[in-house]
């Protein structure tokens, strides 16, 4: 319980840090911190493999890509704090977020919102069990992700190669 509260508070703090950082690099680093804390939460939730994937894919690959692009563009200092949008945007965002949070709070305090109130028994979440489930029940979505990644790769190539190829 104490562990959860500490992790939760630091996760929220890291997220807020990302939101309000003036410097894009700092934002990216706060995001890494947030991902790492969420990985720790996965460990408390009996999901060790997901926690590892979270660290390697998110913190390891995705954020490095972000940092790389930030450095490449020299965009660290581009436009600072939150709220440099228009005033109405600030009000809109604040209002929407308030609605969202209030509705979630009402869900939580309504009681019996979540059907299985008691925690179920601990299940096998080893990589082997996950792999079997992935290839038994989710083999088709798994194949679809193949098409998705292929489309993304082709897309990035289309966006990156020089214009000359496009001309006849």
């Amino acid at each position: 319980m104490v562990l959860f509260i500490i992790l939760a508070i630091s996760a929220v703090a890291a997220a807020l840090g990302m939101l309000f950082s003036r410097n894009a690099v700092h934002s990216a680093l706060f995001l890494v911190l947030n991902f790492a804390i969420v990985a720790a939460l996965y460990l408390t939730l009996n999901a060790p493999f997901i926690a590892m994937v979270q660290i390697t894919v998110y913190a390891g690959a995705i954020i490095v890509l972000f940092l790389f692009v930030i450095m490449l563009l020299g965009a660290e200092q581009l436009r600072g704090v939150a709220g440099d949008g228009g005033v109405w945007q600030r009000w809109l965002a604040g209002g929407l977020t308030a609605v969202l949070l209030i509705s979630f709070a009402s869900i939580l305090f309504q009681g019996n919102a979540i059907t299985p109130a008691s925690a179920a028994g601990v299940i096998d979440t080893s990589p082997a069990a996950l792999g079997l489930r992935l290839f038994e029940a989710y083999v088709f979505p798994f194949e679809v992700t193949g098409v998705l990644l292929l489309a993304a790769i082709i897309g990035v190539v289309v966006l990156s190669i020089s214009k000359k190829r496009g001309q006849q």
Binding site: F135, I154, V158, G166
Partner: protein, 491 residues
């Protein structure tokens, strides 16, 4: 632990595999053939792939199959008349898009074989939207549909409008995907599964958590089909993207969104109908009003058609709102989308013929005197405008008739009134195009090649047939709707 192979019937997903495989094949061809030759052959290959998939799809009409069924749980993919009918819509969309692209792309210097690859990948995602029987597959199909479209919107880079279009589309798409997947997570928590039959069984006891999930998924779909107030991206994206891409996404992405929305909301969330139907009805009304009113002041044909497509999303949403309480709702939506496919692609085909260069000749003023320059094309455009307004005898009129009837049957009289009034308003901006074409003189060249003329002729013919013989076609959509709903209820 023992690996149990799921039951797989590959024949069912063959149309999707053909389409996605066609895209991959094109990519491989680039390795072995000279680039110029691949470019020459790419449209032909795309047509062949689409035709094969079409034959396979037609052969499956009237049958119901499931596939990728793991031991002891529900199937991942389902193919019923509902999915087959939608697949026909998507394949026809792809076919017409190839026809209007084949001469346009070289003319504006965008002839790249990647265009056809990405289009085929996107089509495979659309087809899966109607076949998915699991929320996570809906999500993946949505991404397979969208990611190629983000790239296609930016195809004419470094033209700034096109880049901006891709950027806006991407950010709002990614934002809506995140909302959508959060909705899936909430639904999973409320029902204990993402498989649609299990969601159907659990959603009515899901409490507030399920309602929050449904609401977030509604917002996600709202972004995809460009319903107000989630439509802000549409005009800019449609204007900036190359016109053939605009044509493709104005039909494909929209119908794809509605395909999954009908399956998920009407079937799986049907028992929560009293909660989401009023919300969808209000969204439909706002969409109709914003789309039709703002379209009036647009000087650019692509922006005008963008707002018009928002308005048409409103009419389809009317049918979605009617689907729970009226047996005709789903079939009306299917019929409307079928008619919209031909009418909208036909109108875009003519906009492409009139586009002199990339982004030139797209203002409404450029249509002045079109009747003198090309009487037949002007006649076709006038016919499409009548169909979009909903004046008989056109497919657009039949579609609106069925939608309004379903809305009245479902007891949403106020919504039907909004629909009729906004249709009258829409007459102003559609018929203004006709007025400009016939009452003014103007200069401008037209690019009419056989492929494009074929597309125009076929779409005019289809719109006419749907206008004159709506009954027979409505029976088909009715079969599609009935069978689609029954299967899922049976699990």
């Amino acid at each position: 632990m023992e690996f149990v192979t799921p039951t797989i019937n590959i024949l069912i997903v063959l149309p999707v595999l053909l389409v996605a495989g066609g895209g991959a094949l094109l990519m491989l061809l680039e390795l072995f053939m000279a680039e110029e030759r691949v470019k020459q052959w790419a449209p032909t290959l795309a047509i062949i792939v689409l035709a094969l998939a079409f034959l396979q799809t037609i052969g499956l009409w009237g049958q119901t199959h499931t596939t990728f069924t793991p031991e002891g749980s529900s199937p991942m993919v389902i193919l019923d008349n509902f999915a087959t009918f939608l697949n026909v819509i998507f394949l026809l969309t792809g076919f017409f898009t190839v026809l209007i692209s084949v001469n346009y792309l070289p003319r504006v210097g965008l002839n790249r074989s990647e265009y056809y690859m990405l289009m085929l990948f996107s089509l495979s995602g659309m087809m899966l939207m109607g076949m998915a029987n699991d929320l996570i597959l809906v999500f993946l199909a949505l991404e397979v549909l969208s990611i190629p479209l983000y790239i296609l919107a930016g195809l004419s880079r470094p033209r700034p409008e096109s880049e901006e279009s891709a950027m806006k589309y991407f950010f709002l798409g990614a934002f809506s995907s995140a909302i959508f997947v959060f909705g899936i997570a909430l639904t999973y928590g409320a029902t204990g599964s993402t498989a649609l039959p299990a969601v159907l069984a659990g959603v009515s006891n899901g409490g507030a958590l399920a309602l929050a999930g449904v609401a977030m998924m509604l917002v996600g779909f709202g972004f995809k089909v460009a319903a107000a107030p989630f439509h802000m991206w549409t005009p800019d994206v449609y204007e900036g993207a190359p016109t053939v891409v605009t044509a493709f996404m104005s039909v494909g992405a929209k119908v794809g969104g509605f395909a999954a929305m009908l399956r998920v909301f009407v079937s799986a969330f049907g028992s929560l109908g009293q909660t989401w139907v009023p919300a969808v009805a209000v969204i439909a009304a706002i969409t109709l009003i914003i789309g039709n009113v703002v379209a009036i002041v647009q000087p650019n044909i692509k922006r005008m058609l963008a707002y018009s497509s928002i308005a048409h999303a409103g009419y389809i949403l009317m049918a979605v709102a009617a689907s729970v309480n009226s047996p005709d709702g789903v079939s009306a939506a299917l019929f409307y989308m079928f008619a919209y496919l031909f009418t909208n692609l036909g109108a875009f085909a003519i906009a492409i013929a009139a586009e002199r260069k990339l982004g030139e000749g797209v203002m409404l003023d450029d249509y002045k005197g079109l009747a003198k320059r090309s009487p037949l094309l002007a006649l076709a455009m006038a016919y499409f405008m009548l169909s979009l307004t909903g004046i008989p005898p056109t497919g657009g009129f039949s579609g609106k008739f069925f939608v309004f009837r379903a809305t009245l049957e479902a007891g949403l009289v106020w919504l039907a009134v909004v629909g009729v009034i906004t249709s009258v308003v829409s007459g102003y901006y559609y018929l203004r195009v006709v007025y400009l074409m016939y009452m003014y003189d103007g200069e401008g060249e037209l690019h009419t090649k056989p492929a494009l003329l074929t597309a125009v002729a076929l779409t005019v013919l289809a719109t006419l047939v749907l206008g004159l013989l709506p009954g027979a076609w409505y029976e088909i959509t009715k079969q599609a709707a009935l069978q689609g709903l029954q299967v899922l209820a049976g699990g």
